[in-house]
């Protein structure tokens, strides 16, 4: 049993995710109350170089061919071995396509508690999780003996998790990784035939509030008057109303336009992850309690179906 905080580094195709650095920054904060070290856990193949700018006290590195890229089965086996051996106070994983694939399994396998959607830690070491689409925060004492924590971005700056000084790296022998039932076949590159929304100076972005496919025309008209592109949140893409190439958020693109005009977007954490760094966010939403107003610079609760035709008209005239 130690007071160390483990951070499981997420990487795909040789790139460490921003979430990994956010977690390192969170781990540093948490370690102030637990008194332990921040230990980065890096699983990979010939991936030592990925550790060089991690702001950690040390790195535990496991090298194995099947760990070259993430698969849930292999990662879970490797992490279970490390957690059992070192018994850290907490293991931080991404609340992501990587961390969430393994946190639950590790919890049941090792009999350890999980804390989901954690955003920050308080000065006295409590976790603060963001739930219900960002409308509710839930706080509690970090459960023991080892808390498996999946972290959402937004609570810490990635920059705080980076360092110019490479941390000391310890090679850990890989466990037996055979009989695995999950294998990576290949990656499929994102579609680049459509407009690249991450390069637009302004975006008119539609969310669930747009109600149906026909109404997207209202956003198209405004965007064409403004000379910019239309993007969308997850529910709109899942309904097949907009192509995946226009998706903003956790599983889509990260955008930082000068103006992000959010139409009927509630501002769920998964969406904010992809647009929270926009220069000016303007939110149009009839729900005055929508979390989008917490990050927007300007907002209105005027009904967008009344507003859009008028606004499009005025934009055309203003040109």
């Amino acid at each position: 049993m130690s007071q160390d905080i483990f951070v499981v580094i997420e990487h795909l195709r040789g790139l460490v995710s921003e979430t990994s650095y956010v977690m390192l920054a969170g781990a540093r904060q948490l370690s102030k109350s637990t008194g332990g070290n921040v230990t980065a856990v890096l699983l990979g193949q010939n991936a030592q170089d990925l550790a060089k700018n991690l702001a950690a006290d040390k790195v535990l590195y496991v090298d194995h061919a099947v760990l070259a890229e993430f698969t849930s089965n292999a990662y879970q086996v490797a992490l279970a071995g490390l957690i059992k051996e070192y018994s850290p106070r907490a293991v931080l994983l991404g609340h992501s396509s990587i961390g969430m694939d393994v946190a639950g399994g590790l919890s049941v396998k090792l009999g350890l508690p999980v804390v989901g959607s954690c955003r920050t830690f308080t000065a006295d070491g409590k976790f603060v999780s963001q739930i219900c689409g960002g409308k509710i925060m839930a706080e509690g004492d970090l459960p023991g003996p080892t808390a498996l924590v999946t972290m959402v971005p937004g609570g810490y700056k990635a920059e705080q998790g980076k360092s110019n000084q490479a941390p000391a790296l310890t090679n850990i022998p890989a466990p037996a990784l055979d009989g695995l039932r999950v294998t990576l076949k290949k990656y499929i590159e994102p579609d680049t035939s459509d407009v690249d929304i991450s390069k637009e100076a302004m975006l008119v972005s539609v969310g669930r509030g747009i109600q149906n496919k026909d109404n997207i025309e209202l956003a198209n008209e405004l965007a064409s008057a403004l000379g910019c592109a239309v993007s969308a949140s997850r529910p709109v893409v899942d309904q097949g109303w907009m192509p995946t190439t226009r998706l903003v958020g956790k599983s889509g693109k990260t955008v930082k336009p000068k103006i992000y005009l959010a139409l009927g977007i509630s501002g769920a954490p998964e969406h904010v992850e992809g647009m929270g760094d926009s220069q000016v966010i303007i939110a149009i939403n009839t729900d005055p309690k929508a979390p989008i107003f917490n990050i927007a610079k300007y907002g209105t609760t005027v009904d967008m179906f009344d507003l859009l035709p008028v606004l499009t008209d005025k934009v055309k005239k203003a040109k």
Partner: protein, 253 residues
């Protein structure tokens, strides 16, 4: 091929959420529950697999407001078996739910278990990976499409930035669905009413709920906001004028 879809209901975020007097939970009095939208996609994905390759689809839920309607709608879409667990589910966490579903699934032994990748109120991990481990099965989440060939599945797993991985998994296995290959189909209420006459919901009482493994919460609160948006006052015309002025000021018009 046997496909099982365990689902859960969650608070409707369109309604106002309030904290109960304990200060550590949502006030259940005014809470309206709806199906977890990722679970709705899981049902659709299961039906798509059945339509493509045959099989039997079982949809299972715990008792909840709206559970019967949801199950009958699933039957109208093509689900073959409907199961509703009954009993006291107060304060149920995902570890508890996963154990209950695991007990059921240990007996029926499906080839594929498909569930939503997450729910907005998951605090102790999402249901899929917990369930997988209780059953000793592999789990892969963030899935937006499944192709079954014999005892192998190729799953399309989503990463950030639009990157997709094709992952091969040996069945039986559990999958967490981010989005079905097609949007969940719309079923007219007349068709659901028709199904109500013929489809049967199997009710299975649970003995007691083991809540161990949950994550204790000491306080719930609405997020504190450092700086809220400046609200543009006025009617439609006035707000539109103000927006045009902002667009001009920022140089996008």
């Amino acid at each position: 091929m046997k496909i099982a879809v365990p689902v859960k209901f969650v608070p409707d975020l369109v309604e106002e959420l309030t904290i109960d007097p304990s200060g550590a939970a949502l006030d259940a009095t005014w809470l309206r529950l709806i199906i977890n939208e990722f679970d709705d996609h899981a049902v659709e994905q299961a039906i798509l697999l059945k339509e493509r390759g045959g099989g039997q689809v079982t949809v299972m839920t715990i008792q909840s407001e709206g559970a019967d309607d949801f199950l009958f709608a699933a039957a109208a879409k093509g689900a073959d078996q409907l199961i509703k667990l009954t009993g006291d589910f107060n304060n149920a966490n995902n570890h508890a739910l996963a154990r209950i579903y695991a007990d059921l699934l240990k007996e029926s032994k499906p080839d594929l278990i498909i569930t939503g990748v997450q729910a907005h109120n998951d605090l102790d991990g999402s249901l899929g990976p917990l369930l997988a481990e209780y059953l000793g099965l592999p789990y892969v989440g963030y899935i937006a499409g499944l192709t079954v060939t014999g005892d192998k599945v190729v799953a399309r797993k989503e990463y950030s930035g639009g990157l997709v991985a094709e992952v091969e998994v040996t069945l039986p296995a559990v999958f967490g669905i981010q989005a079905s290959e097609q949007p969940p189909r719309y079923i007219a209420y007349s068709k659901i009413r028709q199904v109500m006459g013929t489809a049967k919901i199997e009710e299975k009482p649970i003995a007691s709920l083991d809540l161990s493994g949950g994550t204790p919460i000491s306080r719930m609160f609405q997020p504190e906001v450092s700086e809220r948006a400046t609200m543009l006052e006025g009617g439609t015309e006035e707000v539109a004028d103000k927006l045009v002025a902002i667009f001009k000021e920022l140089g996008t018009l």
